[in-house]
């Protein structure tokens, strides 16, 4: 085999989560009353646009979660040895971005290095910015750069737009066939937003994304679109790789939170008495410790454990991965209290309702009452909490990395990018692109998550009743 599949712990959990979500979707599709609020979400243009952006991030994150190790070229086929570098399918797709390394910083779309060096020119040694090895290497003269960039941008946008028109045509043909109208009639309905889903927003969103992707692809084949970092690595590549870290922290942490919050919250509200006292005591204690400090203490401890057992990890990626998983665990353990308190209050109310009393009078067991009557009625709170927490967790990663208790320093993450670049602002001229890229990517993901969360909350929270 030319490669050895590697399944890191977080990979396994991500795909387990994906399977769980797929199962949930399949279940919801079969239940009309569960499907109804999702129909409301699907009719909101803002939520659907946000979902589209989130979808792009998720796809990149998932591709980046299929890891493998390449066979060393000089090792025999029958007794292969594998590189210690763990790559992913995403790396393979963008291998150009990964391998085209410059010497050090270079500005976005530049063709010259940021630093000055002594170079030979016309027989004399002068001190100037040397040409980049890859960025703009196809250009003969410096003044050819702007026309080239303009041309590539336009070409990429045109490609994206064309693809989108093609896709719209296919969609129209398929939908027209399905609903037995002519294609023209369907397109007219689409344009008037007369369909039962925000088709215009979705199509325009896809068009914009495709055009953006086309432009980036066109430019990236000849330049470093977002410049390069201190060691010459392409900043676009680092930003894209950081998506997975952000998603893992946002989702796996919730996965840890949920069982704790649901179990303790419902138990406290349903059983009351001493169970309630004990659980309330636990979460007041946990809550009273400042979150960052508890996380810092726990991460320091995990660090000690990892340092003292180097034999457990065969690659640096595996070690960084365990640290990421530990961070998710720790953040999950410290952040379940809010949701638990919410669920406790709701269960306290639900247990006094007539149908629960009736079930108890019939002798239905506690576990059955909870699973049939209590849990389904608090599920919307759980769902709202999941989507609302996600963005907060992504933002928290950056802060924790700054404090020094975030993900492993060797891991690609927006927090590490910001941390590494913030001192470079003092330079003249300013190295802004690394910070800018990290903030823009983080902002896009968090904004999309927040807008989507708003849509979900409005649709599921009966208290809001259509009021925003």
């Amino acid at each position: 085999m030319n490669f050895l599949p590697v399944i890191l712990w977080t990979d396994a959990l991500i795909f387990a989560l994906l399977a769980a979500v797929a199962a949930l979707v399949w279940f919801i599709r079969s239940q009309e009353h569960l499907l109804a609020p999702w129909r409301v979400v699907a009719q909101r243009p803002m939520a659907m646009g946000a979902a589209l952006v989130l979808g792009v991030f998720v796809v990149i994150g998932l591709l980046d979660s299929l890891h493998y190790r390449e066979r060393l070229a000089d090792s025999p086929v029958d007794a292969p040895q594998y590189s210690v570098e763990v790559l992913s399918v995403f790396d393979a797709l963008v291998s150009d971005l990964r391998t085209r390394k410059e010497k050090t910083y270079s500005a976005p779309l530049a063709m010259q290095l940021y630093a000055k060096e002594f170079i030979e020119r016309d027989g004399a040694t002068v001190r100037d910015h040397p040409r980049l090895q890859y960025g703009g290497a196809h250009l003969q003269r410096a003044d050819a750069r702007l026309p080239d960039i303009t041309w590539r941008t336009l070409a990429g946008a045109a490609q994206g737009a064309l693809t989108s028109v093609l896709l719209l045509g296919l969609l129209a043909a398929w939908q027209a066939r399905r609903t037995r109208v002519s294609m023209g009639a369907w397109l007219a309905a689409w344009w008037r937003s007369a369909l039962n889903w925000p088709a215009r927003t979705v199509v325009f969103g896809v068009t914009l994304l495709l055009m953006l992707a086309g432009m980036i692809a066109q430019l990236a084949s000849g330049y470093h679109v977002l410049g390069t970092d201190k060691v010459g690595q392409d900043v676009l590549y680092i930003s894209l790789k950081s998506i997975r870290t952000g998603l893992v922290i946002g989702t796996l942490t919730t996965l840890v939170t949920l069982p704790l919050a649901i179990g303790f919250g419902i138990a406290a509200g349903y059983f009351r008495g001493w169970v309630d006292d004990v659980i309330q005591y636990i979460y007041t204690v946990l809550n009273s410790i400042p979150g960052v400090l508890l996380i810092a203490a726990a991460v320091l401890i995990v660090q000690v454990t990892i340092e003292s057992h180097p034999e457990l990890f065969d690659t640096a990626a595996a070690r960084a991965d365990i640290r990421l998983l530990a961070l998710c665990l720790i953040m999950g353990v410290t952040s379940w209290t809010g949701l638990a308190r919410l669920l406790r209050g709701e269960s306290l109310k639900l247990r006094t309702l007539d149908y629960v009393e009736a079930a108890r009078a019939f002798g239905v067991s506690h576990s059955r009452i909870i699973s049939r009557h209590i849990f389904p009625n608090v599920f919307h709170l759980v769902l709202i909490a999941i989507v609302l927490d996600f963005s907060g967790l992504v933002l928290a990663e950056a802060v924790l990395s700054y404090v020094g208790v975030g993900v492993d320093p060797s891991m690609y993450s927006w927090g590490n990018m910001i941390n590494g670049a913030r001192l470079e602002l003092a330079r003249e001229p300013v190295v802004w692109w690394q910070l800018g890229a990290a903030f823009i990517f983080m902002f896009t993901l968090v904004l999309a998550a927040n807008l989507f969360a708003d849509g979900v909350r409005d649709a599921f929270d009966p208290r809001l009743g259509g009021r925003r």
């Binding site: 007041t284 009273s288 410790i289 904004l447």
Partner: protein, 325 residues
């Protein structure tokens, strides 16, 4: 009222004990003093003697819970638990790795922390309420809709961005205020302005949106309808009735964070070079100074619990029915 306060105070004691036991378990049982020594000394230079010396220097060379060698009460007092964890109840935090007394550091650093955190809190509260009221006044118009969208956008920006952008544009590019630093008295005002500005702006998104929901909940109530029915103008309804009643959840919600203001903000203080408790904590975390981190965990929980008690008292003050439960 007094009995109620007393009851709340007694309720706080088991929680503080719980915090203390948890930190003890985290710092001394899960992670033994030997591990700490190894981390501090670096992987390469670890010898049993060096670890022993480090433990003696830091006073970690005693048994955890029970000293079998000692006599009488010293069996319990001459232990790590008594000297390092239980002692925190008397606010004796011992010394940090740099040899300075932690209690003294906390006393001198509380002032600078408060100098930033208090203005951010007070000004932030006023600004957020103003924005929220404006959105409520223009509710269900485009102004309100875009106000909410703007809030979501502001919320989605990382707190680090506000600080870095503020430092870069206001301090470095336009030279309006110093980038970082701190000084006492009136002279220190120019150092405080930028962190306070950044802190207030960073909080607008989530704060204004949250208060807007509170006001909207209030505006749907019957007494507001009555007020309108008797012919009061919208401005008068908003300020005389909605604002007044909406302030109850806002202020009682704000009380819980009041004591925590002493702790300062980790990130702001470290970026702006404020010699407060936040930067003290962050330095301790980065230097892996466990004694300081432990002390700050205890102090933070203590202040949080104080905030909880204050919240309970303020609730029972504005709503006397609570006291009877």
């Amino acid at each position: 009222m007094l009995a109620y306060i007393l009851r709340r105070l007694l309720y706080a004691i088991p929680i503080l004990i719980g915090v203390n036991l948890l930190t003890f378990a985290l710092f001394f049982v899960v992670n033994t003093p030997d591990d700490m020594a190894r981390l501090q000394l670096g992987v390469k230079h670890v010898t049993p003697e060096a670890i022993g010396r480090w433990k003696v220097e830091h006073g970690y060379d005693k048994p955890l819970l029970l000293n079998a060698k000692a006599e009488g009460t010293a069996q319990f007092t001459d232990t790590i638990f008594f000297q390092h964890s239980a002692a925190m109840f008397a606010f004796e935090f011992g010394k940090g790795d740099d040899g300075r007394d932690i209690g003294n550091e906390i006393k001198t650093r509380m002032g600078p922390s408060l100098a930033i955190a208090l203005p951010v809190f007070v000004i932030g509260l006023m600004v957020n309420i103003t924005f929220a009221l404006l959105m409520v006044f223009f509710r269900s118009t485009y102004l309100d809709l875009w106000g909410v969208v703007l809030c979501v956008v502001l919320m989605s920006i990382s707190g680090l961005f506000y600080i870095i952008a503020g430092q870069y544009f206001i301090a470095k590019l336009w030279n309006l205020l110093p980038i970082s630093g701190f000084a006492g008295g009136i002279d220190g005002l120019r150092f405080i302005l930028l962190p306070v500005l950044v802190g207030v702006v960073a909080g607008i998104g989530s704060g204004a949106r949250w208060y807007r929901t509170i006001f909207l909940e209030e505006i749907g109530k019957d007494y507001v309808r009555t007020a309108r029915a008797k012919g009061l103008g919208e401005v008068r309804v908003l300020f005389r009735h909605v604002l007044k009643n909406g302030m109850i959840p806002i202020l009682t919600g704000a009380v819980v964070v009041l004591p925590l203001l002493f702790m300062g903000s980790l990130i702001t203080e470290s970026f702006f070079g404020i010699p407060g408790l936040g930067s003290y904590t962050i330095d301790a975390i980065q230097a892996q100074d466990f004694a300081v981190v432990r002390a700050m965990v205890f102090l933070g929980s203590f202040l949080y619990i104080a905030g909880l008690i204050l919240t309970d008292i303020s609730y029972s003050w504005v709503d006397p029915r609570v006291r009877l439960q």
